[in-house]
């Protein structure tokens, strides 16, 4: 193990020179290529390594940082469009969070504080790129054109839901928009993204897989499985980590001891970029660069966005039981991705407080309208319950369906509501 850590690729020449008194030749090993020998024990301690820096373009007051310029591709239209989407997602999160509190939908998860990460990346990838999401990435789907009605239909598991009302709320998916359906088991989508990306590569398609996950999910075995196989098969996949500081109640100090998720890339032979996730421009530019690298070099890239989960984990969680209210307030007040972009837009004269208020009102009304509409719809047709288990409906499922229909015909009033 120690020998492998001492490979050239992991120990830069300058650093090696500082620590090694003498290099005494080198050996060729199948497990570590060319390994230099040294005459003193050399311990590689990650504590000695520099923290991987996070790229930023905008500071917390919405000003360009020294030496930075507006990323190529960002202009007034795109910046305003991104901001409008942030307001739309924020309105949707507020309305549906409240709707769950009122018992109108069974569950909800907000993306408060991660709007920069979502829209910055969504705007930088291509609509043909296949997205594999965890669950807190509704903004990416929104950017691709998923409508408020479509979101609301899924949340109400009604007859309009593309998923036929089968999964919990926020488990969105859209074949048309190249957004694979979300599932609850964490990190399972990571090796799947590598497989899809490998398919794109064999088909010589100009597209990548983009795989989102939180820093908690990165502790799952599937994270390791995915990055390793993506590297060994040279898969065109972007691994996009949202490091927001918490996995439900678990702070990162209980999640890992290395330098976040980014530091793991090197061990897999995967290039890494770390970004200020509350800076939408930096996320946009880094994602764009990562996509270009993936296609030109024919290998995966790992991108880690540093952000903060401003909301509760979900509607089943009260986050003030494990973190201070003052901490949440600090992030909202001083380092909020929406606010940073808004300050920039105001500075440029691309936006105004009047437009801001008007748009927030309009979006809130649109979401409320979608909610009302979705709530009024019925649940999916009864005959969909036994469909899609298999491509065809096997005999035993036909029998079970017939039994069920016979049973509810006998006790119709008991099952009248459908729930």
């Amino acid at each position: 193990m120690a020998l492998r850590l001492l490979t050239k690729s992991l120990v830069p020449r300058a650093r090696a020179a500082r620590f090694f008194s003498t290099t005494v030749g080198h050996g060729e090993f199948p497990g570590g290529q060319t390994v230099p020998y040294v005459n003193k024990i050399h311990v590689v301690d990650p504590k000695d390594a520099d923290v991987i820096p996070a790229y930023r373009v905008l500071d917390q007051q919405g000003k360009l940082v020294p030496g930075a310029s507006l990323p190529e591709g960002i202009d007034e239209d795109l910046a305003v469009e991104i901001y409008k989407h942030m307001i739309r997602l924020n309105s949707m999160d507020n309305v549906f969070y409240d709707a769950q509190r009122q018992g109108r939908i069974s569950f909800y998860m907000t993306a408060f504080g991660e709007e920069g990460t979502l829209f910055g990346s969504a705007a930088a990838i291509k609509p043909r790129d296949m997205v594999f999401a965890q669950y807190r990435e509704a903004g990416v789907l929104m950017w691709r054109g998923f409508t408020l009605d479509q979101f609301a239909d899924q949340l109400f598991s009604n007859e309009g839901d593309l998923g036929k009302g089968r999964q919990m709320p926020v488990h969105y998916g859209s074949r048309e928009l190249n957004y694979q359906t979300v599932s609850s088991p964490l990190a399972t989508q990571l090796p799947q993204a590598a497989g899809a990306a490998y398919g794109f590569k064999l088909a010589k398609e100009d597209r990548i897989a983009v795989c989102y996950f939180g820093e908690g999910a990165a502790s799952e075995g599937d994270f390791h499985a995915a990055l390793n196989i993506a590297a060994t098969r040279d898969c065109p996949v972007l691994y996009f980590a949202r490091n927001n500081g918490y996995a439900i109640s678990t702070p990162v100090k209980d999640q890992f001891r290395g330098d976040g998720i980014a530091s793991r890339g090197a061990g897999y032979g995967i290039p890494v970029i770390r970004v200020d996730g509350n800076d939408v421009f930096a996320v946009y530019e880094a994602t764009k660069k990562a996509r270009e690298m993936i296609l030109s070099d024919g290998r995966p890239v790992l991108l880690e966005t540093m952000s903060y989960r401003q909301g509760h984990h979900s509607t089943s969680d009260d986050s003030t039981r494990y973190r201070a209210v003052s901490e949440i307030k600090h992030w909202k007040d001083t380092n909020c991705p929406m606010n940073r972009l808004k300050l920039y837009l105001l500075d440029q004269g691309w936006w105004s407080e009047e437009r801001d208020v008007a748009l927030k009102d309009a979006e809130r009304s649109s979401v409320l309208a979608a909610l009302t509409k979705a709530e009024a719809k019925g649940i999916p047709a009864l005959d969909t319950m036994f469909e899609d288990v298999y491509a065809e409906k096997p005999r035993h499922l036909q029998d079970q369906e017939a039994e069920m229909l016979e049973h509810i015909a006998k006790y119709p009033e008991h099952y009248a509501s459908g729930h």
Binding site: R166, P191, Q192, G199, H224, A225, N228, R233, H396
Partner: protein
């Protein structure tokens, strides 16, 4: 001698019935691993999106099932994965999720459990949970399974019953080279994820005349290997040889056995078993999925049953090394169960 020629006649007549085509049935002598290899060759020739991967498949596989495939189809389509079963499974699901054909190998069925989450929570539910927007139907997991004489805990397991309790999956197990080739090709082309277990004890031991070229054996259909009137015996995979021996012993004792190879464990062919038991009135079942078959048949054939349904299975212990011979539900144990049922 007489029996084995009768048996091969039966096998080929079954085949003719299933693949009634104008062309004469040209066969080639193959063992099970060469038949499986041939199935994968046909699958890859007829489907340019098909890939074969897993641990050590590139050099031909530890059981020689993928020999020469890399040379024929290139290293992009036949490749080694890192040693990580959950990765193999997840990668296969993702590859299939964009409409391409994945043939993934798990080196031993004993090592499929790290991939259990991907197979049960992901592959099996992929189509249902998305409302049929996405599926991973063009996916097949191959894994050697079953006793091998000296495999102990981790080279002997038969985990089909775990998967048989998962809606969305098909589980298939062949008994000889011909069925292996036809069932594997059918599994690869089936629009649902399939877990395909290969009786590793038969990789070399089982040899038969296998039709050359492209053919499939339909999934979801049991195969009546021999007709009888006194008792129905049901099994699958490597156990079919054991059951043939038990039936021979019973027939010498004057008992007429109807022997059925289930072939597809889920969704299983209830009708064929039901019809047989209605005729014979007795059922013996072998294997871990036996309880499901026993309770279903009890429900459907209650008035026809003349004896309790018996299950002749491995004991409820981990698979032992030194005591393997005692552990297995061998021919003699099955013969005793047949006598018990007939004399009940």
């Amino acid at each position: 001698m007489l029996l084995s020629s009768l048996r091969s006649k039966l096998a080929s007549s079954t085949l003719r019935r299933q693949y009634a085509s104008s062309a004469p049935l040209v066969t080639e002598r193959m063992n099970m691993f060469t038949a499986l290899n041939d199935a994968m060759r046909v699958a890859m020739e007829t489907d340019p999106t098909a890939v074969v991967f897993g641990e050590d498949v590139a050099f031909g596989g530890v059981f020689r099932c993928t020999v020469d495939l890399k040379e024929k189809f290139g290293e992009d389509r036949v490749f080694n994965s890192p040693l990580c079963e959950q990765g193999i499974a997840g990668f296969a699901i993702g590859y299939a999720s964009i409409g391409r054909t994945a043939i993934a190998e798990i080196q031993f069925a004993d090592y499929i459990f790290p991939a259990f989450d991907q197979i049960v929570n992901e592959a099996a539910k992929f189509r249902y949970r998305s409302g049929n927007q996405f599926d991973c139907g063009k996916l097949t997991f191959r894994a050697p399974y079953g006793a091998v004489g000296h495999g102990a805990h981790y080279h002997s397991q038969s985990p089909e019953a775990y998967f048989a309790h998962t809606p969305g999956l098909k589980v298939v197990i062949p008994r000889n080279p011909t069925q292996a080739k036809g069932l594997l090709l059918a599994s690869i082309r089936d629009p649902n994820p399939v877990v395909f277990f290969e009786p590793k004890a038969l990789y070399r031991a089982s040899v038969s005349d296998v039709p050359v070229g492209d053919f499939t054996v339909p999934l979801g259909q049991a195969d009546i290997m021999r007709s009888g009137t006194d008792i129905t015996i049901v099994g699958w995979g490597a156990q079919m040889r054991v059951l043939e021996d038990a039936c021979d012993m019973a027939e010498e004792a004057g008992v007429s056995c109807e022997l059925i190879d289930l072939q597809t464990i889920t969704p299983w062919d209830v009708d064929t078993i039901e019809q047989s038991v209605r005729k014979t009135g007795r059922l013996i079942k072998t294997g871990g999925f036996a309880s499901e078959i026993a309770s279903t048949i009890q429900e459907r054939c209650f008035l026809n049953l003349e004896a309790p349904i018996q299950r002749v299975c491995g004991y409820d212990t981990p698979f032992p090394l030194a005591y393997e011979k005692l552990y297995l539900p061998d021919a003699l144990k099955n013969f005793e169960a047949i006598k018990h049922a007939v004399n009940y």
